[in-house]
Amino acid sequence: MSDLLIEAHELTMRYGPRTAVDHVSFQIPKGRVFGLLGHNGAGKTTLMKALVGLLPAQGQLRVLGLDPLRERVKLLEQVCWIPDVAVLPRWARVSELITMLGGLHPRFSAERARTLLARTDVSLRDKVSSLSKGMVVQTHLALMAAIDARLMILDEPTLGLDVISRKAFYEMLIDEWCDGERSVIVSTHQVEEIETLLSDVLMLNEGKLALAISLEDVDRRFVALSHDAAVAADMEAAHPLLRYRVQGGSAALFDGEPPQHLLPLGRRIRPSLVDLFVALTRRPEAHRTQFQDAR
């Protein structure tokens, strides 16, 4: 069996005249946690819907070796998908959701779902409508984590939740689902919060893939130099990807090794994913403002 769970080649998706996903190619092997990052409207949800067979895409796309559009039902037997926060039916009791998933999903374990739910504040008799948003999301994750699948796709799963709920969600995801064989793709705006969970990132910018890289390679490829204001002009002259504020001064982010003459002028620091995200997905006008601010 191939180690690649997803193979996308030159994927293009359009809504009428607007191109939502533009010639995107990437591969996702097993055992990885991918962050799908992008601004609103960057094409994240559109891409995820293509991965689960809800939208057609031009180009080549295989998920678990299947064509998502033609083999959606078979694919979803091996893929967990949490499309949004609070999409569980509000009229249902938690126990009824377990019963229904048991009948609809061949790889669902009711026993495991009950075990996972026992670790939360959610009772089996609770109605979804009576749960807080955070509890609904926890319930949804517990149900999905009880599916013996190979891939989990999460689209902004913690949007609008408080920090405690977000933390509890990601803890359950990592502790109860990720086992080194399964893979996760999670799209979110809260980049800084999941940075430590990720093994790889995909960055979408206006439908185009701005970056597809492992976090190990991020450290190898991108270099940031923190520096004093006195050498700002020198840094700027070297055309860094981004100049931004850091504690006690400014920093310049470079794709690759900075010019040798700059190295003595600054101190190497590890660029955060947020900085990299801003650098690679910013709009030109945002860039100008940020650049001026950093002086």
Binding site: L75, V87, R90
Partner: protein, 304 residues
Amino acid sequence: MNTLKTLLQREWFQHRTGWIVIALVPLAIGLFVLGMTQLHLNVDGNEATLTIEEAPPVALALAAIAGAGAAGFFVAWLVSLFQVPGLARRDQQDRSIEFWLSMPVGHAVSLAAPMLAHLLLFPLAAMGIGVASGLALSVLLLAKTAGLAAWFGLPWLSLLGLTLALMLRVGYGLLLTTLWLSPLILLAMAASAWLKRWGLPALVAGVIVVGKLLETFFGTPVVWVTGRMLLERAGRGLLTGEKPGGVAVNGNEDPTAMLAQAPGWLWDDALGATADLAHPLLLLALAVSAGCFALLVLRRRQGA
């Protein structure tokens, strides 16, 4: 794994409270009516007053059982017909559509299950509960009028045989009626799915405008004729109302004599309703239904 069974179970989870209340309506009405001592009957257009004490016990029992069963069936069926257009977009409305789309279940079965539950299973179950309610009401009715002994003295074999025959006829009839009404039902569902709350008004307005245009400019009332034929055949699906010899039933029969004859008559009636299927209109109905169902599948594939 039985996906259809689970989807039907979902309907039960979601609608059970309303369904139970509706199914118990005949019992509530029956108990209310029992509180009255006189029944006003309308026989062959002539207003007549008949105290229930004068009616034969078998007729009273039959009226209670068949009446409660019919009331349960028709109330449930009408409620379902009223609800069905909304089924097409209920999951979009409560934002759970993406949860259902994340399940490994085909679109067609996801759409067919609620239709099956609402249009066939619920009305039939309500009829069954109505008949059971009618049996209970018949005990109270006869205990009040002719004494409890009269209830035990009823010709139960014939009475239950007729009840069973009636239920089978209505069950089969509902299948035929739903078949004839399916283009109208699915048109309403498709309109609701695609045009949301404007779907039904737009559909009604569209049918009226097209019907008027065809009638005015082409002199063909094809829309009205087709609609009337569909409704007539849907009605005949439930009960053609014809005796084997072609004589219409007038409701002025001796109930005891009818008990023995009725199952055979119901069988013939079912055959007559089946014969109605041999008509080109059925092909048109099936084609329109299939087209509308495809529109529903397409809409569901698009998700929210």
